[in-house]
Symmetry: C2
Subunit: 189 residues, 2 copies
DNA sequence: CGATTCTTTGAAAACAGTCAATCTGTGTGG
DNA sequence: CCACACAGATTGACTGTTTTCAAAGAATCG
C-alpha cells in the first residue's frame, strides 16, 4: 500500500530512489475497518496521514450529540487534526473510517526530518497546505452564501466521486443541513 | 511601517540583521484609504500582504450583488487570494480596506527567494499556513453547526477586538446572516 | 431472514430572510 | 455653526426556508 503514496509523490515531484526509500522507511500502514477510529476527540494527534484506500471523515460532536462533518478524505487525500498536531494539545475532532480503509502514517518528527532533508518534499507539503487553505476558504464562501439546494449542487459538481460512496446523512452533515432537508432537496431536482 | 512587520517576525523567529535587511529590501508599503481596493475580482494577485495598520476584508459578490465576507485582517495578520497567487489565475475574491490602512507587500518571486534563503523564515511561513488552516476548519465547524446567536457569541469571544471596529453589517456578512438578524440577536442578549 | 441503519414523507413549529419604514449618528457643504 | 444628506442600525409585519418530531419504507449487514 506504500505504492499508492509513492505514485502520488512521483506524480508531483521528482525524487531519487534513495529519497523515496527514506520516506518508505518511516511510513507505517494502518488498516481500518468501517467505523473504526483513526483519532478520537481528546487524544493527541501526532501524524501526517495519507489515505491509500477507502474513505475517512473528520467531525465534531456538539452538546446535543449531533455529528458535524468538517472534512472527507478519499484515496490521495491527507487527513488529520492540524490544531492538535501543531500544539500537542488534545484533539477536538474525531476521525473515523466511512469505508474499510488503509492509511499511510508518518509521525511528526520523521515527517519534519523529511521536510528538512528533501527540499522537493518540503515544497510538495507547502503546496498541499496552500491548496487546502484555498479550498477551505472556498468552502466557507459556499457555506455562508448558498441555500441548501445550492450547497448540494456545488458539492455534486465539486466532488462527484464522493456522492456515490458516502451515505446521504453524512453529506447532509457536511453541508450543515439535516438529512430530511437533503432528501427533499434531492427530490425537487 | 516596516517596523511593524519586523517586530512581528522578531517576536516569532530569530533572524540576523542581514536577513531582516534582506526582507526589508523587497518589501513595499502601500497605504490604503477606507474602501480602497487592494485586490479586485478578476485581477491576478501575486503578493504576500501583511497588515501593518488598519483593517481589511476579503469578500465575494454573488449573483444578487450581495457581499459575503470570507475574512478580516487587522494588524499582524496576513491577507491575499491564495488561489490566485498559487495558480496565477484571476482572483475570485475582492479585498478592500475597512479603515484607512497600511500593508507591507512582498511579491511572489521575492517571497519565495526569502523562503529558500532563510530557513527560519520558511518555517515561520509554514507555521502561519498551518495555523490559518486550523482556524479556517474551526470556522467551518461554527458555520455548519451553530445558530445565528451562537455564531455571534463565538465571534465576540474569539475576536473581541474586531467587534469594536468593524461595522455590524460586515460582521453579519462574515457570519452568513442578514444585518437585521444580527440586530435582533444583539437585542435579545 | 431479523435487526439495524438509512432514507423518505408529512405536519407543525422555529428560525432566518425580505421588504419597508423609521431612527441614529456622522460628516459635509453652504 | 447649522441643515442636510447619507450610511448604518433598528423595528415591524410578512414570507419562505429549514428544522423538528414522528412514522413509515427501503436498503444493508451479520
Amino acid at each position: 500500500m506504500f505504492e499508492v503514496l509513492k505514485n502520488y509523490i512521483e506524480k508531483r515531484v521528482a525524487l531519487t530512489e534513495t529519497e523515496l526509500a527514506g520516506i518508505k522507511s518511516v511510513t507505517t500502514i494502518k488498516k481500518l475497518r468501517k467505523k473504526q477510529y483513526l483519532l478520537q476527540e481528546g487524544d493527541v494527534w501526532s501524524f501526517h496521514a495519507f489515505v491509500a484506500k477507502g474513505c475517512l471523515r473528520t467531525y465534531t460532536i456538539d452538546d446535543k450529540g449531533l455529528e458535524h462533518i468538517i472534512y472527507f478524505a478519499i484515496e490521495d487525500w491527507w487527513i488529520g487534526d492540524r490544531q492538535s498536531l501543531l500544539t500537542g494539545k488534545p484533539a477536538t475532532f474525531n476521525i473515523d473510517a466511512v469505508e474499510d480503509s488503509e492509511v499511510a502514517l508518518i509521525n511528526k518528527p520523521n515527517f519534519e526530518k523529511l521536510c528538512r532533508d528533501i527540499p522537493a518534499f518540503n515544497r510538495l507539503v507547502s503546496e498541499i497546505l496552500e491548496k487546502s487553505l484555498a479550498a477551505t476558504q472556498h468552502r466557507i464562501t459556499a457555506t455562508i452564501s448558498y441555500t441548501a439546494e445550492q450547497k448540494y449542487q456545488q458539492f455534486l459538481e465539486k466532488y462527484p466521486d464522493f456522492a456515490l460512496r458516502i451515505p446521504q446523512h453524512m453529506i447532509a452533515s457536511y453541508l450543515g443541513i439535516t438529512p430530511e432537508t437533503l432528501s427533499r432537496v434531492r427530490k425537487r431536482s
